[in-house]
Symmetry: C2
């Protein structure tokens, strides 16, 4: 049998899923996610990600915050650097 779609999701789950899709529904953010996944140890810091996008550092920081709030990235501070990595949810949605 082919893959089936989960039809019975609670309204809360639907809202969370919609938020995650919305977070991924932007070219810049999707590229950021793929850059993080491609990074060493599947993580990356803002200083690595900013040049790739060609956008202002504040803009990149803003997008990363949205991705964390959506439950798609984790943030870990190590020294001066903030490292971002994909969550399980993100791995599932992007596989």
């Amino acid at each position: 049998m082919a893959q089936t779609i989960a039809l019975t999701r609670s309204p809360k789950d639907v809202e969370k899923l919609a938020e995650q899709f919305k977070a991924l529904g932007d070219g810049t953010r999707l590229s950021l996610m793929m850059a993080v996944a491609a990074g060493e140890n599947a993580e990356a810091c803002v200083c690595d990600l900013t040049p790739e996008t060609g956008l202002a550092q504040s803009t990149v920081s803003h997008h990363l915050r949205l991705l964390v709030e959506a439950g798609l990235l984790t943030r870990t501070q190590r020294g001066k650097w903030a490292f971002y990595a994909l969550t399980k949810d993100a791995q599932k949605l992007l596989k």
Copy 2:
């Protein structure tokens, strides 16, 4: 080995994927997709979908058009009715 993320996607594919995520990144549209998937023969017409959303018919029609344009729904006219069904892409993203 755990599921891996496709890291090497062309910019065109990234843009298309982002468009699909964006289309799903709205509570109303995501609910519409699930309602279609739950419909008899995994399809549904606007007359069935409109009451479920509580929105104006024109609004539902607009959202359905966006989902078709994103490659997530197909549209088939049968008599007076327009039937919408999930594409392969949609089944993959929602499974």
